[in-house]
Structures are given as C-alpha cells and as structure tokens.
C-alpha cells in the first residue's frame, strides 16, 4: 500500500510520520507540498501535526483553504483513506471533511503527556488491528484539542459509530465533549485524531500501541 504525507509551512511532525509509515509499511511515503493540485495515486494520505501557518486565525484555518486541500477532498470523495493527526485533525475539520470543531483546551494550557485511548469503533479501516473497548496508550501534544460539536451532530456521530477514539480512564487532557479523541466521516475513509500514534510504534518509543492504526490503514495486517 502506498501512502503520501502532506507538507505545509509550520507542520513539524512530518518527519515522525514519514518514519512511522516507512517502518510499518516498508515503503517510504511520497510527500505532497501545499501548492500541489494533483495527489499521486496512493491508498492513504496523511496530514501530520504541527502549527501550519503559525496557527493564525484558527488552528488549521489557513491550511484548509490551500490548493492541496481541494486535491485531498477530491481523493477523499473517491474513497482514498485520509488520516489527520493533531494539526492534521484541525485542518480536516476546518476543511469540512469531518464534523465538529476543535477549540482551546479547557485548561487553557498546552498539554504534552501520555493519555489512554479507548478504541470505541474497531470496525474501521484505521482500527481493525484493535478490538472494541481495548485501551491503548498514546502521546498527546496540543493547545487546541477541545473537541466540540452541536447536540444534533454529536448525536449523529455517536449513533453512526463515527466516534473512533475516546480518552479513557479519566485522561481527557483538553475538555473534549464526550471525551472524544478521534472522529471519522460517515463514509469511514477520513479519520481525524488529536493524539500522536506515530510517536508510539516501536520499542525505542517505549511501546508500540500506535502501530495498529497504520498497520490497519496500510493493510499490513490481514483484514
């Protein structure tokens, strides 16, 4: 399976993401720059974390309006898998590819720590390496990860199985409504999450809990 990593000014987790994808799939991902209007033929497009455009206006707001996002939207419409991590999640929300919004952490503090994540939906292209209800460890590092959706949207995503990850065991680091840590679109091919699974994929990281997300999305494991 081929993958692509989007690079934008201010994103700084792209190298970690490239390393994770390379190690897990055995193939180096192609990189896509902000001005590109065509995305190569890949199975998975990843928007990594960071601070695109300095987080000006709102996190992810400027990035979501760059030409490359139109190309990503077109690919997502065709069914190509898209994963947004941290700032990538913020960008997908601002671009309207996912429902809801991310706001300033309820504590107003930047949080950089490890949290517990419950796999709420293991029947997705991104989580089939896990089992439903399984709790994994994952690092988080963000200032604006407080997920919000209006009551109607919340009801819809909860009942459609679009809530994929929840902060577990009281580790919600940002005040997210319903402890939501990751959501996907109705079609199930676009996932956004605040935690950084790419930073927990091998023994040198102190664990490999995050590996399953990439192994699932890249179909490294059997379905």
């Amino acid at each position: 399976m081929k993958s692509a990593v989007v690079q934008l000014p201010g994103l700084n987790r792209d190298r970690d993401m490239i390393a994770a994808l390379t190690k897990i799939s055995g193939h180096k991902p192609v990189t896509v720059w902000q001005t590109e209007t065509e995305i190569p033929d890949v199975d998975l497009i990843v928007i990594p974390g960071g601070f695109s455009y300095g987080d000006y206006l709102r996190c992810g707001a400027i990035a979501a309006r760059m030409p490359v996002m139109q190309a990503i939207k077109a690919k997502a419409d065709q069914g190509v898998k898209v994963l947004g991590v941290c700032n990538g999640f913020q960008i997908l929300l601002e671009a309207g590819l996912l429902p809801g919004a991310l706001m300033r952490n309820a504590s107003l503090k930047f949080v950089c720590r490890e949290v517990k994540l419950e796999i709420v939906n293991a029947d997705t292209a991104f989580t089939r390496a896990y089992s439903k209800g399984q709790v994994i460890r994952s690092p988080v590092a963000h200032h604006d990860g407080n997920y919000f959706a209006d009551a109607e949207t919340l009801k819809a995503i909860e009942s459609n199985g679009q809530v994929v990850f929840r902060y577990a065991e009281g580790t919600n680091p940002n005040g997210s409504i319903n402890d939501i840590a990751g959501v996907m679109n109705a079609k199930g091919n676009v996932l956004g999450m605040m935690p950084h699974p790419e930073n927990l994929i091998e023994a040198a990281h102190g664990g490999s809990d995050g590996r399953g997300i990439f192994a699932s999305a890249l179909a490294v494991i059997a379905a």
Binding site: R104, A106, F148
Partner: protein
C-alpha cells in the same frame, strides 16, 4: 473605498475557556457583578469599491469561507 468591521463571536452554548479565564481575572481585580465574559475577534477591512451592496455580499462570503468557523462562531458585518 469602503471601511468595514467584521466581528466574530462564539455561538451561545459553546464553552469559551478564554472568556472564563478573563472573567476570573476581572473578579480577582475587584470588578464585582460580572455575569459573563465572552471573547471574540474583530477584523477591520478596507475594500476598494464604492458599491456598498457588493462589499456587503463579498464580506458575507469572506466570513462564510474564512473569517468565521460557522460550526462554533457567529459573525456580524458593519460598514463605516
């Protein structure tokens, strides 16, 4: 040239942690009786046109497309 001011505020019901912190700080300074503080953003724009109707339509589009995130924010437009 038309001067315009766009004000973006959080919708009712959306938690505003920054507004809450400011509310707390005002209380700490001795300002009593503050019911609520909500923080917003102000954009001052200069538009090179004399056509007020067009400016207003353009500003609305700017708000919808970029200046506000209508999932969580409302906006108002006023022309000078």
């Amino acid at each position: 040239m038309i001067k315009a001011r766009v004000t973006v505020t959080l919708k009712n019901g959306v938690l505003d942690p920054q507004g809450k912190a400011i509310e707390g700080a005002l209380g700490a300074l001795g300002f009593d009786g503050i019911g609520q503080v909500r923080q917003g953003k102000v954009f001052d724009l200069q538009i090179e046109t004399a056509d007020k109707a067009k400016a207003e339509a353009d500003l609305k589009a700017m708000c919808e497309k970029l200046l506000a995130n209508t999932v969580i924010e409302n906006y108002t437009i006023s022309l000078a």
